[in-house]
């Protein structure tokens, strides 16, 4: 039964999306403020180390999520974003999705990586604790995302759970359009092995997350 929790949550998100957006379509943009703001940003930021001005260029998901921020996201847009992002997810050649939860815990604790103040040679962290509760031993966790305490235990230690964890970390926009969660695989923030390790943190029965 628990194996379907993840799917159910995903379905619920879509369902809610449909209900919310069925009745309200976005008012059209009345002027060029968005374009002017983007141009202003280009002239107000300067490249610094690895953080070049190209980082201000938006992909379609970023553009749509910015455009509809603070307004209802129409169902077709939700579908478009999720479908496009689902298609980006790659799986390891050996299909081994689960690594070492101890390495995963370190990645979950670290907020380093990709800031202009960071060493571009890495490694980057995922900073999971900034937004999520995971191991109950860590008191300092954020609440931007839901608690992931007992992620594996609740959902069952199944292939579906492992696959869902991989997908969600790889590209969260595939399940929740305009999610606040970075697309760790899609953007290459984490390596394949690092994603495995974070998956292990979530789904390994021995992980502190599942105690």
């Amino acid at each position: 039964m628990r194996t379907f929790v993840a799917t159910r949550v995903a379905m619920m998100i879509s369902a809610v999306g449909v209900v919310l957006h069925g009745c309200a379509s976005a008012p059209p943009e009345t002027d060029d403020a968005a374009a002017r703001a983007a141009a202003m940003m280009k002239s107000s930021f300067k490249a610094h180390g690895q953080a070049t001005l190209a980082r201000l260029d938006q992909d379609e998901t970023q553009r749509l999520c910015s455009e509809y921020a603070g307004r209802p996201l129409p169902a077709p847009i939700v579908e478009r974003i999720q479908k496009a992002n689902l298609a980006t997810i790659r799986y390891p050649g050996d299909n081994n999705l689960v690594g070492d939860w101890k390495a995963g815990e370190k990645i979950a604790q670290s907020g380093q990586g990709f800031q202009y103040s960071d060493d571009p040679k890495g490694p980057a962290g995922a900073n999971c604790y900034a937004c999520h509760q995971l191991s109950p031993k860590e008191l300092s966790y954020g609440t931007i995302g839901p608690s992931l305490y007992r992620f594996g235990k609740l959902r069952g230690y199944t292939d579906e759970t492992r696959r869902y964890a991989w997908q969600k970390i790889y590209n969260a926009e595939a399940f929740a359009a305009c999610s606040s969660m970075p697309r760790f695989g899609y953007h290459g923030i984490l390596t394949e092995q690092q994603i495995r390790d974070v998956v292990a943190l979530l789904v390994d029965p021995a992980s502190p997350v599942n105690q």
């Binding site: 998100i13 610094h48 201000l56 999520c65 910015s66 603070g70 931007i144 926009e173 929740a176 923030i189």
Partner: protein
């Protein structure tokens, strides 16, 4: 509405977890953090910057040997009382909307005869070897608005335009992590690690946040200004570097300061 959608999803997940007895944030944790913050209020090293800034304000400076007592922050030359509460604003002499720090640089260049480079030499200080005059001046000027209601002239056309562009920036997603300001500051009751995140899209959140900058950051042992706050947010957003006094920095400041209108200015504060 999008927010509502996400909240529903999050609420669902929380409900599932709650049913299995996961430890919620211990009340004791938040109580103790509140106690920590309370204890810090007893003595705020920001006062050391304010004192230095006040002395600097009154001292003739630069090649022209002119003090800031000729610098017009919007309420007349040399007037600091309440000036910070009405910034950013449009300055016809500069033909530009300016925040406090941009205006200070303008006065250094146009009245004190400093070069732009000299005026901006150290915008953010680092220890006793690299102190920032601008941080000290900003601390002093801001302290002179304590208790004054924020009243940024957002209906003035130039400021209004910057406010609107700032709002767009606030929601602009980009970079390697897809972050926008709104990612962390667009919902109620969220924390990053143990730090409460003000919802800057709501009046109350914007007021609470904006009226406490500049602030002494205990994690850095430095007094930090609003320009610094924005600069460092974008660093953590994985964006390129926001230039000090740039139009984008002023637009975003105009948006956030404008949203804080009506609240009494309550800084410089002391923060983690």
């Amino acid at each position: 509405m999008r927010k509502t959608m996400q909240s529903v999803a999050a609420a669902g997940a929380v409900a599932i977890v709650a049913a299995t007895g996961a430890p919620a944030l211990g009340q004791s944790t938040s109580d103790e953090i509140a106690k920590y913050r309370e204890a810090l209020q007893d003595g705020n090293p920001a006062e050391l910057w304010e004192a230095r800034g006040e002395a600097m304000w009154k001292t003739p400076r630069g090649p022209a040997k002119v003090s800031f007592e000729r610098c017009d922050l919007g309420l007349g030359p040399g007037v600091v009382k309440g000036a910070y509460a009405q910034l950013p604003r449009y300055f016809p002499d500069a033909k530009r909307v300016m925040d406090l720090e941009t205006r200070l640089v303008w006065c250094m260049v146009n009245q004190q005869g400093m070069t732009e480079a000299a005026a901006r030499k150290t915008v953010f200080g680092n220890g006793s070897e690299k102190r920032s005059d601008l941080e000290a001046l900003a601390a002093y000027v801001a302290s002179q608005s304590q208790g004054v209601a924020m009243n940024v002239p957002i209906d003035e056309p130039h400021v209004h335009d910057m406010y609107r562009l700032g709002e767009k920036m606030f929601y602009y997603r980009g970079g390697t992590h897809d972050f926008a300001c709104a990612t962390c500051h667009g919902d109620d009751g969220r924390r990053i690690r143990l730090q409460d995140l003000p919802n800057l899209t709501k009046t109350e959140g914007a007021q609470k946040a904006y009226t406490t900058w500049p602030a002494y950051r205990v994690s850095q042992g430095e007094l930090r200004t609003f320009q610094w706050r924005l600069n460092d947010c974008f660093r953590q957003q994985r964006f390129p570097e926001l230039e000090y006094g740039s139009d984008a920095s002023i637009a975003l400041t105009a948006y956030l300061a404008g949203r804080a209108n009506g609240a009494a200015y309550d800084g410089p504060a002391i923060k983690r």
